[in-house]
């Protein structure tokens, strides 16, 4: 089994890529980046069900999780058809191991306290909104359609998480301290969102994906504005050693997948 990292670099050297049209394999892996980011974040939010600080927040986080898992299903189904190897959305979600997952590292970080979950959510919402808005103009019509649906969902996610960031940051001394701690802890994972690698550039050149360089200033502007309203300090720029989108993950993803994939792996083909 090739890892996404190796096959990505291989595809960028393929004749198809040189001709300006990304290979099916490259497009497959690009879809996995989008799908896995939503899937992993959806699973993380699902961990709050039954544990959120209020019934209403329980429902709110579950609603966002379901939006994200819905996005992942559409993207994985499309990826499955592109790949053409008979791995359907369930096989892709439940039968791949951590190194084959292409989600950005930020979304696999543990929930921590409620504040850390909402900070993670805000940082990714602000990014996904820019990403999906751009993708809704993708030269890939099917991807554009999926993104157009996701944009509406993500606008709400960002409204929700921005509201909480301000509420916690500009709240009590304790909520402020915890929110700042979460921003400081998660900031190092944001560079991966905004730094393109060969696959991102290949997709941008083909008009399939957005230029991350164009997304960066819009993301930074939005994040800076909400952080300021929340009276939170923006950490200094950090080097990013994280490459989740190439399959190189922090130790947290494997544990999360063990729980997520346990049932379908123990009882192959099970339905309920």
């Amino acid at each position: 089994m090739t890892t996404p990292g190796t096959s990505t670099s291989a595809s960028s050297k393929s004749p198809a890529a040189e001709a300006g049209s990304p290979s099916t394999e490259a497009r497959f892996h690009y879809l996995l980046r989008l799908a896995d980011t939503s899937l992993v974040l959806g699973q993380r939010l699902g961990e709050w069900v039954g544990h959120a600080p209020a019934l209403e927040e329980d429902l709110a986080l579950a609603n966002i999780a379901l939006d994200l898992i819905g996005q992942a299903r559409l993207l994985l189904t499309y990826a499955s058809e592109l790949e053409g190897k008979g791995r359907d959305e369930d096989a892709l979600a439940f039968l791949r191991d951590a190194p084959e997952f292409c989600n950005v590292s930020l979304v696999e970080q543990p929930n921590g306290d409620f504040g850390q979950t909402l900070v993670r959510q805000f940082l990714i919402d602000a990014w996904q909104l820019q990403l999906y808005e751009a993708l809704s103009g993708s030269s890939d019509a099917r991807l554009a359609e999926i993104a157009a649906k996701a944009v509406k969902e993500t606008r709400y996610h960002l409204r929700f998480s921005s509201g909480w960031l301000v509420r916690l940051g500009d709240g009590t001394a304790e909520s402020h301290a915890r929110a700042q701690q979460a921003v400081d802890a998660l900031w190092r994972f944001t560079e991966e969102l905004l730094t393109p690698d060969a696959l991102d550039e290949e997709m941008a050149a083909a008009g399939i994906g957005p230029s991350l360089a164009a997304i960066r200033p819009r993301w930074e502007e939005r994040v800076a504005a909400v952080l300021q309203e929340a009276t939170l300090k923006r950490p200094a720029a950090a080097r990013h050693p994280w490459h989740g989108k190439r399959g190189v993950h922090t130790e947290h993803l494997g544990h999360m997948l063990a729980e997520m994939q346990h049932l379908p792996r123990t009882f192959p083909g099970v339905t309920w």
Binding site: A54, E56, L59, A60, N63, Y156, R159, F160, G163, R167
Partner: protein
Amino acid sequence: MSDDWPLFEVFIRARSGLEHKHVGSLHAADERMAIEHARDVYTRRQEGVSIWAVRSSQIVASDPEEAEALFEPARDKVYRHPTFYAIPEEVKNL
């Protein structure tokens, strides 16, 4: 946590043109959160296209003790229902 949050009453408009109807209540820390909670709790099965939320403490309610004085006097005034008009034969669909 939610014990500290004030109670809001939620009204949902099911479709454009219909009135907002009371659907229930919820806890929220502020107005913005009240709308978000109402959206998540009461519209996730496509129940509505518009939400009103109002702090329960802001609602002025009639006193059940006064129910007799307020509502009994209307009982014997059947003439207030428009049922005493002779309808001309030409009017078909009334």
